[in-house]
């Protein structure tokens, strides 16, 4: 038994390798090791580190310092006051690691850039981290109104990074420049913009380019081969903008289904391949495809798909999961290693690449004082690329503002209902359920215009 199995904190570098860069300067591995040991030494005895650093490099320093001290990183899925308060209540004494000058009031905070500044570059000695150690706890929207914690061991994160690198020809030996438009606190961003580069000797961009012009500037600040980690929303914005991007080895997209036409257009315009990653929070990245040519998804090497004989659910198996992980979406199995997506989960919906549980949204809107009944609804008749949520509410005497203001404190802004529709009652059936066809009908009579 590999009770003492470890994997190095970073791999594929020398002391002078470039680990991260921005428009001002590049950071070497030796400098990173110095920053990390300074932060590790300054971390108080704490059960958890809430890592809300926005700069990707400071995030990694805090992440690595916590790992080397055996402290799990907590990664909240948004930064609304309600989410942070909930994390604080659930994990008392957790230390908040931030790279902002003004920490949230009432939190035991550690400013990572200021703490790291006390350190000096260290010789090239890379700490080994136990595979079984909890590296991160990632939160996702849960159907009961509370964020659901997903525990990630260091071993599983390293294994997924290795399989991703193998699939995308990004193994160590040919340093690449990785630029990501996605946050590192979410599974996809953590796996592709932190773990993938740092386990294979690649350099990553510290920022999170947002507008197409930001993406162009970030890509131009790095040597080839370049990899762009992004989402359908950003890819579409770049194509619509007409921005000229430098040569790209690969574009990776995830978080929402990428339309085939968009993938083909991006491949032609930028002279590269566009590959999609499929995954979900419980499992992490599990499969990929080249959107333009592949209707099916192929799981990463070493994983297999099986079926639970008792309930018919499909399961993903890999030796680094404690137990097989049930698929969240509805799939059709082609073989032990290939599948097609048939339907998305009814509870987990996607708005602009962000996933949320409808149950969670309904719980939150019903909790607003004065709301008697309410239901969120995702229309499927929109011409917009980004479908917006609507919500039906029964709330006599309340204004739109009375409902939106409390929601804003606990929900990511993209999930706020647009429109919010006041109704006298919801078409619940005798068991109290809201059949989807009833909601579709309600939407048809109330939708704008």
């Amino acid at each position: 038994m590999g009770a003492s199995l470890t994997y190095p904190l970073i791999e594929g570098y020398t002391g002078q390798s470039i680990l991260a860069w921005d428009q001002h300067r590049a950071i070497t591995v030796e400098e990173f090791l110095g920053d990390t040991s300074a932060v590790a030494a300054a971390l108080p005895e704490a059960g958890y580190l809430v890592n809300v650093c926005e700069d990707r490099y400071w995030f990694l320093v805090a992440f690595a310092a916590a790992l080397s001290r055996g402290i799990p990183n907590l990664l909240p899925h948004n930064r609304t006051p309600a989410t942070l308060a909930e994390v604080r209540d659930r994990y008392p004494g957790a230390v908040f690691a931030s790279d902002q000058d003004q920490p949230e009031p009432g939190q035991i905070g550690l400013n990572i850039p200021n703490t790291a500044r006390r350190g000096t570059a260290r010789p090239f000695e890379v700490p080994a981290i136990a595979a079984a150690q909890t590296a991160a706890i990632v939160f996702t929207s849960g159907s009961t109104g509370s964020p659901k914690p997903n525990v990630k061991t260091w071993g599983s994160m390293v294994q997924i990074a290795r399989r991703t690198a193998q699939r995308f020809d990004l193994a160590a030996g040919k340093p690449a420049s990785i630029i990501a438009t996605v946050p590192q606190q979410h599974m996809y961003g953590l796996e592709t913009s932190i773990m993938l580069p740092t386990q294979h000797g690649h350099a990553f961009h510290r920022g999170k380019p947002f507008f197409p012009e930001d993406v162009r500037v970030a890509l131009n600040s790095a040597p080839a081969p370049r990899v762009l980690i992004t989402t359908p929303v950003h890819l579409r914005a770049c194509l619509a903008d007409g921005v000229a991007l430098p040569e790209l080895k690969l574009i990776v997209s995830a978080t929402a289904p990428l339309p085939v036409e968009l993938a083909a257009q991006a491949e032609d315009r930028y002279g590269t391949h566009v590959r999609e990653i499929y995954g979900w929070s419980e499992a992490g990245s599990v499969a990929s495809r080249r959107t333009r040519t592949d209707g099916s998804w192929r799981v990463f090497d070493g994983s297999t798909i099986t079926r639970d004989e008792d309930n018919g659910r499909f399961l993903l198996n890999a030796d680094f999961y404690p137990a097989p992980v049930p698929f969240e979406d509805v799939i059709e199995q082609n073989s032990e290693t290939e599948f097609r997506l048939v339907g998305r989960s009814l509870d987990m919906i996607n708005v602009a690449g962000k996933r949320v549980s409808l149950g969670d949204l309904n719980f939150k809107v019903c909790a607003v004082p004065g709301v008697r009944d309410a239901a969120f609804y995702l229309p499927n008749d929109s011409d917009n690329v980004v479908a917006r949520l609507a919500a039906f509410v029964v709330a006599p005497g309340l204004s739109e503002k009375d409902i939106l203001e409390p929601l804003r404190a606990s929900l990511d802004a993209v999930f706020l209902p647009r429109p919010l529709i006041f109704v006298d009652r919801l078409p619940r059936n005798e068991t109290g359920k809201l059949p989807l066809n009833q909601l579709d009908a309600l939407w048809k009579t109330h939708r704008p215009k």
Binding site: Q23, G207, P209, F210, F211, P212, E213, D214, V217, V233, H234, A237, A240, D241, V243, A352, N384, V386, L404, E405, R408, A413, V414, L416, R418, P419, P448
Partner: protein
């Protein structure tokens, strides 16, 4: 003051049409916040708006612009930024 200047009224129209908002452009108060509790725009709207601005006014928004917090602060601030940077 709720009255919109000529450019503000033009930008208000651009916001409402490019984002498909169910709002009267003339009702957007020039000093009101565009994001959060004001008009309620979010990051996806910012991307859409950047596209519309680049097509209409011929310049590209950058998020590392040191004035960025100010640019999107309100209709009047955005209008000033557009007047200053437009190429068409």
């Amino acid at each position: 003051m709720n009255a919109q200047s000529t450019i503000e009224s033009e930008v208000a129209n651009l916001i409402v049409t490019s984002l498909n908002l169910e709002k009267d452009p003339g009702a957007i108060v020039p000093a009101q916040a565009l994001f959060g509790s004001g008009l309620g725009l979010d990051s996806i709207d910012a991307l859409e708006l950047a596209m519309a601005i680049s097509q209409r006014y011929g310049f590209k928004l950058r998020s590392d612009d040191p004035d960025n917090g100010k640019i999107f602060a309100s209709l009047s601030a955005l209008s000033v930024h557009i007047e200053r940077n437009r190429t068409k």
